[in-house]
Structures are given as structure tokens and as C-alpha cells.
């Protein structure tokens, strides 16, 4: 645990010392801010503001942001040669991967918490469905964790940050658009299977509409566990490749 904490601290420090992290954060806030403002303008006197508005937007944004947040985690270390030092130190592969993953997730959580400011603004204007908001934020938090875990796998796979980002974006796009598979696959059973494997398939019909389902929590946590396990195995493979 101590080594995980050490790696976590180191990565968090590098996130908050890097101008890229602030650029990503600013871009993130511009996009969520525009969406929030537009939705308020359209909702006046017509309907309540969608409690899952920001989480819904983030399902797509994370396909783009997760690779940017994770591409450097292992790929940069490999490119710089510091990964070999790390692997020869008395720190397990598990600690390295988990520490780095938790730091990325913590940074995402930080960005997510900033967007709660929108709910504070809303609470001054109307009666938001706070339980629904909490449910959808929990959903996107897990969703974000899963996308970051996928990104970490590709960061462990290659020593090129660009290649890592490119490959994880493709993988996340496939996982994201699995929800729309019904538009191209005529067989509804196959479409349902792919839908159940997709990231959106466990967000749109549940967290987004105000339902917290155990199966969706298991899906995201399971995806994280499997992806982190693969990342650890990939890191470990550097010793015997």
C-alpha cells in the first residue's frame, strides 16, 4: 500500500505540475460549461434541467480525454527509460499500475467535482433532483475509471504516447459506439450482446435516467479490474520479452 501511495503521490504531483493537465482541465470546463449554459437556456419554463446532463456529455468526452490523461503514464516512462529503473526497484508491477491508475482517476475526480459547481448554480434557480444527480455522477465516475483503465492498457503496450492515445481512442470509440450497434447489426440478439458489452449500454438506460443497477456497477468495476490486470501483465512481460 505504501508503494502505491508513493507512486500515486508522484503521479499526482506530475499532473498538477504539468501545463497539459491544466489545458485539458480548461478544455473540459469550456465544453461542459457551454453544454450546461445551453441546456439552461432551452429548459426555461419548458422542462426541468436534465440532472444527468454533464455526466451524459462526459460519456463521449471521456473517449477523447481518457487517452490524453493516460497516454503518458507508462508509455512516457518507457520512452524516457525511467520505467526500467522503476521495474528494477523494489516496487511491484501491481503497485506501479495501481498507483498510476489511481492518480489518473483522482485527477478525473477532481475535474468532475469542479462541475458540481453547475449543480450549486442550479440549486439557486430551481429544485434539482439531487439524488438523480448523485446517481449519474457516481455512474460517470465509474465510467471514467473504466475508460482510464482501458487507456492504461494501451499506455503499457507501447512506448509511444501518440500510438497509445490513438489505440486507446479507437478501443474506447468501439466500446462507446457499441450502444448504436443495432443500427448496423440486424440480429437483435447479437446487437443486445454487443450493447451489453458497451460502455454506454451500462450508462444510458440506467445512471442517465436515474436508476442505480448492480449489474452496471459490476460491469464498470469488472472492466477496471480486467484492464488493470492486463496492464500489470503487460508491464510484467517487459521482464521476459
Amino acid at each position: 500500500m505504501r508503494t502505491i501511495w508513493l507512486i500515486f503521490q508522484r503521479e499526482m504531483a506530475s499532473y498538477f505540475m504539468s501545463p497539459l493537465a491544466y489545458l485539458i482541465g480548461a478544455g473540459f470546463l469550456v465544453l461542459t460549461g457551454i453544454t450546461f449554459n445551453n441546456d439552461i437556456a432551452f429548459a426555461i419554463t419548458v422542462r426541468p434541467v436534465d440532472p444527468a446532463l454533464i455526466p451524459n456529455l462526459l460519456t463521449l468526452l471521456m473517449v477523447l480525454f481518457a487517452p490524453l490523461l493516460t497516454m503518458r503514464l507508462l508509455a512516457e516512462e518507457a520512452r524516457e527509460g525511467t520505467l526500467e529503473l522503476l521495474l528494477t526497484s523494489p516496487i511491484s508491477d501491481f503497485s506501479v499500475v495501481i498507483g498510476k491508475f489511481l492518480s489518473a482517476w483522482a485527477y478525473f475526480t477532481f475535474l468532475l467535482l469542479i462541475t458540481l459547481a453547475y449543480q450549486v448554480i442550479l440549486a439557486q434557480l430551481t429544485t434539482p433532483d439531487l439524488a438523480h444527480v448523485a446517481g449519474s455522477y457516481l455512474g460517470i465516475w465509474l465510467y471514467g475509471g473504466a475508460t482510464l483503465a482501458v487507456g492504461l492498457v494501451f499506455s503499457a503496450l507501447t512506448d509511444s504516447q501518440l500510438l497509445s492515445a490513438f489505440l486507446s481512442m479507437i478501443a474506447l470509440f468501439i466500446l462507446y459506439f457499441g450502444e448504436s450497434v443495432g443500427e448496423v447489426v440486424g440480429n437483435i440478439d447479437v446487437a443486445q450482446l454487443i450493447f451489453n458489452l458497451s460502455l454506454q449500454g451500462h450508462f444510458a438506460p440506467s445512471f442517465a435516467v436515474g436508476i442505480l443497477r448492480l449489474e452496471d456497477v459490476v460491469y464498470y468495476v469488472g472492466l477496471m479490474v480486467v484492464m488493470l490486470f492486463i496492464a500489470i501483465r503487460l508491464l510484467e512481460s517487459r521482464r521476459w520479452r
Binding site: 505540475m17 501545463p19 491544466y22 489545458l23 482541465g25 480548461a26 470546463l29 469550456v30 461542459t32 460549461g33 457551454i34 449554459n37 439552461i40 426555461i44 419554463t45 422542462r47 426541468p48 469542479i114 442550479l122 434557480l125 430551481t126 429544485t127 433532483d129 439524488a131 438523480h132 448523485a134 503496450l157 507501447t158 512506448d159 509511444s160 501518440l162 500510438l163 489505440l167 448504436s180 450497434v181 443495432g182 440486424g186 440480429n187 437483435i188 447479437v190 446487437a191 450482446l193 450493447f195 449500454g201 444510458a204 438506460p205 440506467s206 436515474g210 436508476i211 442505480l212 443497477r213 448492480l214 449489474e215 469488472g222 479490474v225 480486467v226 490486470f229 512481460s237 521476459w240 520479452r241
Partner: protein, 550 residues
Amino acid sequence: MNRSKGLSITRDHLAQIGSIFAGIGLLLGALGVVWQGNITLFISVAFGVGILGMVVWAFFAPQAFKGFFTGRQAQKGTVSLFSTLLLIGIVSLAYIIARRESLAVDMTVDSRFTLDEQSLSILQGATRSIRPIRITGFYTPDQLVQREVDDQYWQLYSNATNGFISREYINPNAQPAVAIPYEEYLQFGVNVFVSFLNPDGTIDPTSTVPVNNNNSQERNMTEAIARLLVAGTFKVYFERSLDTINPIENNQQGMSFLNNTLRTNGLITEPLSLADLVQQGDEIPQDASALIIARPLRQPTDAEIAMIDRYIKRGGALFIAGDFSPIPDNFMAEGSAFNEYIWQTFGLRLLDAVVVDPASSGQSALDVLSAAVFSENSIGANINQQNKPETATLFRLARPVEVSATPPVTNGSVILSSPLSWAERDTARVIERNEYRAEEGIDTAGPLTLVGWANNQATGAKVILVGDGEFMTNGLSQNPQGNNILFLDGVGWLTGFSQSIEFTPQIFVTSPLIFVGGDLLDTIGFVVVIVMPAIMLLVGFIVSLRRFRR
């Protein structure tokens, strides 16, 4: 050590991409074969991509490729692969168990995904039904999200009835023959239905009730189930021997639209001849939930009135629509036996006059629109809805209804004309010269009752008296909608059908966003789009600056 710098793509990178595509392609191909049992185009493409990836991998990194399949790499790789597959298996198992358990928490403050007490009470009644109920949904593959959301609602109904209400989803593209009986609804976007099941487990198509599957899923589904449960328990008779409107005729002067609508709602309709019953010495059937007398052209005989009286005394219900006509002995003319009977029994009667309404009318002042509606019961609840002008009623040459101030039973008005209207007594002038003017002391000043109701709470007898009959014809019953709303809600009130399916609208705590002025919106926009990202950039700039100085 070979370090790649900048954006250069090395042979190893290409080999890595090849190996990834090889792995994904072969895995998808293998899964496809297991799933479908044969080689489809998708599977062929997946295998093709996998093989191509392997070729790329072998071409750009032959040593790594060889090492993967032989020696230490193969051994370690196999262990990693199998341990990963084992973990995927464990996670999949956990997921399958979680999915089967269907554990879900409704997070909405309005409890949108929780059945309320009223629904649960109706569902409790449903489980006492002889036949199980099936919810059938038609969803194409591109409606998977909608199907998943709807299924969460329908699952509540299944769970609340311990599976007595089951669910079935059909892809109309894959099973077009199954969808054909529902085609007329499917083309209008109605894709969910409830039906009773036959003993052999098949759907009883005659019992099918469509469900309006919009945002109020609970209300609509519970109402549909309530309709299904009461279907066949209410029987409405259309009187035919008084030269009334033909409920089967589908031309402009017929009344097939309203008749069919009643049937679609689960009510049984039958014709009935008072004259034949009198001749045969029979009575109005015991199962008559209501008797419709739609624009008769002759007066009922004393024997027919006596038969109606016996029906009323045992709690019968009458819907009487009497039109204006210039003939001397018009139906329910003032002083006629039947008009007097209704006056004595219910405190309502038709007057020999024509309602003229210059303030609330259609093409002429003789086309009278509903100016005011009393919604003390369900008859007028859906007429003259706010911002829906089509829900007004329109009567052409309507007769006023007099409502007794000292009635023998509870009575009242449903629809009134405007205060500027009057009851024109000189009907000959109206018919012959199309002239009308209010004459003090002769004509009755508005507002006038156009539709009245009465209810004998001791016997349960009910009556609705309308001063117009033409509104029920196919030509006028659909335009404006208020005309058919009046008839359907009227019959619903008379038979008790409305009370059986009545379902209080859900009240939502969350409300539309309301605030005044664009300034506040501009301020919010400025804060969330400019200030918040700017603060983030500023912090980043300060951190970078301090780092640079160090």
C-alpha cells in the same frame, strides 16, 4: 538502448499495431463462430483482419513474432493469457449473477421507477384475473436503449405480480408476421401492448390494449392494464327503433367512429330496438351498462317510456342526444311525454329553442362552441383544455337544456354557452330566413346549458342530456376533438368505466426551470464558460511559471 524520439514510427510500432489487430481480429472471429455457429461475413472480415495483422507483425518484427510462439515468451505468455481469461471468466460470472438478480435503486426524487400505491392496488386486482397478462413490446435493433429503459418499468410490473404479468420483446423486422396484427398501431409509433394469454400461452389478440409509451410510462401502463381487466365487463346498447343514428354506418351521417372507439377501449357495443322489446314483452337487458339514444327522429311511445322507466329504476344509465328539428312533433318537444318524464325523474329537459351565441361560435352564431365547462365529474374534465382549442365541443343548431333548480336527484350542467348567448324561440325565422335576434321577455338570456347531467344516488341511475345530436356523427365527432371527448367521457361516466380505470396523474417534485430575465443567464454563461476555465488556465500558468523559474 534504442530510444525512439519525437513522432517517428518504428518497425516495432508497426509490428505492435499488427499484433493488436491480430489479437482483436482472431478473438472477435472466434467469439463470432461460437455465438453464431457458422461463418458469416462479419466473422470472415474479423479473421481476415486478424491474419493480416499477424502478417504485418511477422514482417516487421520476425524475431518477436517467432519468440511469441516458442520458448520462454510462449510459456510466460500462455500463463498470462490463461490467467487473464480466468479473470475475465470470474468477472463475467459476477456480471451474469448481478444481471440475473436485477438489483436496482430508483434514484429519482419523483420515484419515477417505483410503482405507486394506486398501481400496486390495480396489479393486486390483476393477479386475481383468470388469465395471465403479457406485455408485448416491438423494438427494432436500433431501439435497444429505449427497450432497456422500458424493460426496467415493465420489470416492476412483473415483479409486483410475481410473474403473473410477463414480458416479451419482438423485433418486427425479424418477425414481420407477428407484427402484422399490430401494424395499424406500430405505424403511429405505438409499440407496446398488453393482452391476456390463452391457456396454451399464446396471446389472445381480441383482448389486446395498446399502451401510449411516452414519458409517463407508469400511468399509461397501469391504465392499459386496468382497461384490459375491465374489458368485456361493460356493455353499451345503441337504440335503433327511434330512427337514431346508425352506429355501424361509416359515412358522414353514420356513427361508426364513436362505436369503434368504444370497442377499442374494451367496451362491448350492441344495437337495441325498444319497439321490438315492447312487442316481444322483453325488458332492456340486465347487462346494459348504458343505453345511447342518439338523435332520434320520433317520440318514444308510452310503452317504450315505461320500459325505460323500469330500466332507470333498477339503476340504468341513459345518454340522450336530442337534435333541433323543424318538424312539429320533434323528439323531446316541450310538453311531450318523454321530455316530461326526464324532467320529473332527473330535473332536466330540452327546450324548443335554438341556442344563438355570437361570442363563442364557429362559422355562424348557430355553431355553438363550449364557452364554459363544469368539471365536477369526469364528463367535462377533458373538454376546453388550456391551450388546446381542439378540445372544445361544437354543436350546430343546438337546443338548450333546462336544469331544474329543485331537482328530485343530484343534477347539474356540463357545458354552457357564453353569457352573450340566448335561446331563440322563433325557430321558424331561424330556419326559413336564417335570422335571429334576442327579444327580451321571449328569449331566454345566456349562459345556457348545452349538456346536463343527473345522478340518482339511491338507485345509481344516471343520465346525460345533450341539446344536439349531430355532434355524434362521423362528420363532426372527430372535428373538433371535444365532440368525441364529450361522448367517450360521458359514456365512461355513465357506465362506471372511467372510475374503473381512473388513475391520478403523478405529481413531480422537480419543476421546469423558471427565472426572469436574460441578464442572469448571461452571468451564468460568463461564469461557467469563461471564468471557470480561465481560473484553471491561470493556475496552470502560475504553476508553470514557478516551475520555469526554479
